[in-house]
C-alpha cells in the first residue's frame, strides 16, 4: 500500500504536524532510532498526563483545598484550617462511641470498617470456594452466570431488591427466620437499627460474590492441574491442597480482588442510599461515609465538610490499598 493510502486519514490534520509525524513513523534519515522511541513515548504519554491532570489530579487537589474552607472559597468561604476535619471526626455521625460495641449507630467510620471486616472475607472466600467446587462441574458456566448476575445488576437496583428482601411480610429473609421459628428476626430488617447494617452487608455479598468467583475461576485456569493431581496422589488432604497449593498460587488474583472489594466497601453509597434513604436508616444505623459526604455536600450544601469527608475517604482508600499491596507483594 502506498504512503498516500496509509496516511489518508492523518492527512486531514494540520500539515506541518502531519509531515513531522509521517517522517517520524517512516524513519526520517536525520532522526535516530533512540530519538524516535523517545518522541514516540512522549507522544503517547502527554495526552494521558493531560487527561490525568484535568480529570484526576486537579479534582483531588481541589477537593483537598476545599476541605480547608468553611464554604465556597470563591464567595462566602473563609480559610478554616483543619476545622472541617475536626468537625467531621467529632461528629457522632462519624464515630458514635457511646453505642460501642453494639448496637448501631456506631458512626459512619465504624460502619465502613464493619463493611470491610464482614463483607470482604465473606465475598472473597465465597467466590474462591465456589470457583473451586465449580471447576470441574458440568454446566458450571451457567451456574457462574447466575451468580454473576448480582454483579451485572446495577447497584441501585440491587439496593431496591435488598429493601424488598429484608422487609417483613414480603421479604424472604424475615420470612425464612419466621419459618424456622426465630421470631426476633421475623421483623422489618430495613428499619430495625440492630439489623439494617448487617442485612445490607450480607445482602451485598450476594451482589459482589460473582466478581470474586469470576476472577478466581480465571485464575484457577492458570494453575496446571498436575499440581493438584500430584498432591492427591501423595495423599494430601483437600484442605492442605487448598492452603498449600491453590491459595498461594492465587495470591496475585487475591490481591486484585481484595483491592477492588476494599474500594467498593469504602465508597459504598448506592446500595445504602436506595435501601434506607439519605438519612442512613433508623437513627443512622446503616449510615456510611459516602452517604455522610452526600448529605454534607448536597443536602446541607456545606462543601467544606463534604470535601473533608472526601479527603478522608481518599486517604483511607490509599492507605488500605498500599497496605494490602505491601503485604501481598512481600
Amino acid at each position: 500500500m502506498g504512503g498516500g493510502g496509509r496516511f489518508a486519514d492523518i492527512r486531514r490534520l494540520p500539515s506541518a504536524f502531519v509531515d513531522r509525524l509521517i517522517s517520524w513513523v517512516r524513519g526520517h534519515p536525520g532522526v535516530s532510532h533512540k530519538s524516535r522511541v523517545k518522541t514516540g513515548r512522549l507522544l503517547f504519554f502527554v495526552p494521558a498526563v493531560f487527561l490525568a491532570i484535568f480529570f484526576v489530579v486537579y479534582p483531588v487537589l481541589q477537593t483537598v483545598f476545599l476541605g480547608f474552607f468553611s464554604g465556597d472559597p470563591g464567595s462566602s468561604g473563609a480559610y478554616s484550617g483543619l476545622d472541617n476535619y475536626g468537625r467531621v471526626i467529632s461528629d457522632p455521625a462519624t464515630i458514635n462511641a457511646k453505642n460501642l460495641p453494639w448496637p448501631p449507630p456506631l458512626g459512619t467510620l465504624l460502619h465502613n470498617a464493619l463493611w470491610i471486616g464482614i463483607h470482604l472475607p465473606i465475598s472473597l472466600f465465597a467466590g474462591l470456594w465456589l470457583a473451586l467446587i465449580l471447576r470441574d462441574v458440568r454446566g458450571a458456566s451457567i451456574i457462574k452466570s447466575f451468580i454473576f448476575l448480582g454483579m451485572v445488576t446495577p447497584m441501585i437496583v440491587g439496593g431496591v431488591i435488598l429493601r424488598f428482601l429484608l422487609e417483613q411480610g414480603i421479604g424472604i429473609v424475615p420470612s425464612f427466620f419466621g419459618l424456622i421459628g426465630v421470631k426476633s428476626l421475623d421483623v422489618n430488617w430495613i428499619v430495625r437499627r440492630q439489623l439494617t447494617l448487617l442485612g445490607l452487608i450480607f445482602g451485598s455479598v450476594w451482589l459482589w460474590t460473582g466478581f470474586s468467583l469470576i476472577v478466581y475461576s480465571a485464575g484457577l485456569t492458570t494453575i496446571p492441574k498436575d499440581y493438584f493431581e500430584a498432591a492427591r496422589v501423595d495423599g494430601t488432604s483437600p484442605s492442605r491442597i487448598f492452603f498449600r497449593i491453590a491459595f498461594p498460587l492465587l495470591k496475585p488474583i487475591t490481591l486484585v480482588i481484595v483491592v477492588m472489594t476494599l474500594l467498593y466497601e469504602l465508597k459504598i453509597f448506592d446500595v445504602v442510599y436506595v435501601a434506607v434513604g439519605p438519612d442512613g436508616g433508623t437513627l443512622g444505623s446503616a449510615d456510611v461515609l459516602a452517604l455522610q459526604m452526600y448529605r454534607y455536600g448536597f443536602i446541607a450544601f456545606n462543601s467544606g465538610l463534604a470535601a473533608a469527608v472526601a479527603s478522608l475517604l481518599t486517604l483511607m482508600t490509599l492507605f488500605a490499598t498500599l497496605l494490602v499491596l505491601r503485604r501481598m507483594v512481600k
Binding site: 424488598f164 438519612d279 448529605r295 443536602i299
Partner: protein
C-alpha cells in the same frame, strides 16, 4: 420555599414574567384565619404578582375504607378516648396486623403523621413555632409542651402497638391497607391517585375512601398542612402567549373545577363548586374549616434537619422503649435545627 424563589426571581432578577394583569387576589380564599396567606398569589413589596397557586394538596388525617368500617361496625372518632377505643376495636379484628399502617421506611410518612399530632394537640401555633431555624423558632423540640404531645399522644399508641412497623415501600403499605390488613393510613389527599396507580384487580373504588382528622381538643386551634401547587412563567419561554393562557386557565373556576374532579386536589379559588369533588376529597375540603393552614414542617426547614427528623422518628417508631428513648430523640431533633 417556592414563594421566596418566585419572588427572588421576579422583580429582583427579572427572570419571571409579571402576571399582575392575569390574577385578581380577591378571587382566592385568603381569609382572616392564620396561614391562609399561603393560598394567595405570590407578590412582593412592589405589589406586582409574579406567580400563583393553582389548587393544593393537604394532609388531612387518617384514611379508611367505608366498607371496612361498615363491615366491622366502626365509626370515626370525635374524642381522643373514642380514637383509642377505635384503635382497640380495629386491633381485635381477625386478620388485622396493626390498626394504623406506617408507610415508607424512608421516613417522610412518619414525619407527616407526627406533624398532624403536633398541629392538633400542640395546635397550629406550636407547629408554626417549631418550623424555623434556631433564631426564628418560638418553641423548641425539647420544650415540655412539645414533649407532652409526644409523651401523651404518640408514645402510648406506639407502646400499645397501634402503629405498624414502618413498611419499606409505599405501594406495599397502600396495598396491604386497602386489602384490610390495617385499618387506617395517614396520608395526603393524593392517596386516591396512588391507589389508582397500583393496578389492583379489581380497581379500587375511590368512593369507598373516607378520612377523619385526629379529634380536636377544646382551647387548641388545630392546623392542617397544605402543599400548594405553584406556577410562574419564566421570561425565557418561547411560548409566552400560550403560557399566559394556561396560567389563566389553571387559576380560573373552570380550570380548578377540572383539576379537583381528577381527585387529590383542593381548590384555592373562590367560587369553585363542591359538586366537582370526589366524595373523599369533599370531606378533605370540608375538614379544613376552622383550621389554620400550615406549611410542611420538615420540607420548610429542609437540609440535614429533615433527614435527621426522619431518622430519629424511625428510631422512636421502632424502639422497644419509646418512652425511655423519647428525650434523647427530641434532643437529637433539636440539635439538628439549623442555626
Amino acid at each position: 420555599m417556592v414563594t421566596s424563589f418566585i419572588k427572588a426571581h421576579g422583580g429582583a432578577t427579572g427572570d419571571v414574567v409579571d402576571v399582575t394583569d392575569l390574577v385578581k387576589p380577591s378571587d382566592f380564599k385568603v381569609g382572616t384565619t392564620a396561614g391562609t396567606d399561603l393560598l394567595a398569589p405570590v407578590t412582593d413589596g412592589s405589589g406586582k404578582i409574579w406567580g400563583g397557586i393553582y389548587t393544593g394538596k393537604v394532609k388531612p388525617g387518617f384514611w379508611y375504607r367505608q366498607s371496612f368500617f361498615t363491615a366491622h361496625g366502626l365509626s370515626p372518632p370525635t374524642t381522643w378516648a373514642q380514637f383509642q377505643s377505635l384503635l382497640a376495636s380495629i386491633k381485635a379484628i381477625s386478620g388485622v396486623t396493626a390498626p394504623i399502617v406506617t408507610g415508607d421506611g424512608v421516613g417522610w410518612p412518619i414525619s407527616d403523621v407526627t406533624e398532624h399530632f403536633i398541629a392538633t394537640y400542640g395546635g397550629a401555633s406550636m407547629h408554626r413555632g417549631l418550623t424555623g431555624n434556631r433564631t426564628t423558632q418560638t418553641v423548641t423540640w425539647t420544650s415540655p409542651s412539645v414533649r407532652a404531645v409526644f409523651a401523651n399522644r404518640i408514645v402510648p399508641l406506639l407502646q400499645a402497638g397501634d402503629f405498624s412497623e414502618p413498611l419499606t415501600a409505599d405501594s406495599v403499605a397502600l396495598t396491604r391497607w386497602w386489602n384490610g390488613e390495617f385499618g387506617l393510613y395517614f396520608m395526603g389527599s393524593w392517596i386516591g391517585t396512588w391507589l389508582q396507580g397500583l393496578g389492583l384487580n379489581p380497581a379500587p373504588d375511590l368512593n369507598d375512601l373516607r378520612v377523619f382528622p385526629l379529634p380536636e381538643e377544646t382551647g387548641i386551634t388545630p392546623g392542617v398542612v397544605f402543599a400548594g401547587d405553584y406556577m410562574f412563567i419564566p421570561k425565557y419561554t418561547t411560548r409566552l402567549d400560550a403560557a399566559r393562557q394556561l396560567f389563566s386557565f389553571l387559576i380560573s373556576v373552570d380550570g380548578q373545577n377540572a383539576q379537583i374532579a381528577q381527585g387529590g386536589h383542593v381548590a384555592t379559588r373562590v367560587g369553585v363548586s363542591n359538586t366537582s369533588y370526589p366524595p373523599g376529597d369533599l370531606a378533605v375540603a370540608n375538614s379544613l374549616q376552622g383550621k389554620e393552614v400550615l406549611v410542611d414542617l420538615d420540607d420548610t426547614v429542609g437540609g440535614t434537619f429533615q433527614t435527621t427528623f426522619w431518622s430519629q422518628l424511625k428510631g422512636l417508631w421502632t424502639s422497644p422503649d419509646p418512652a425511655g428513648d423519647l428525650d434523647g430523640i427530641l434532643a437529637a431533633i433539636q440539635a439538628a435545627v439549623p442555626p
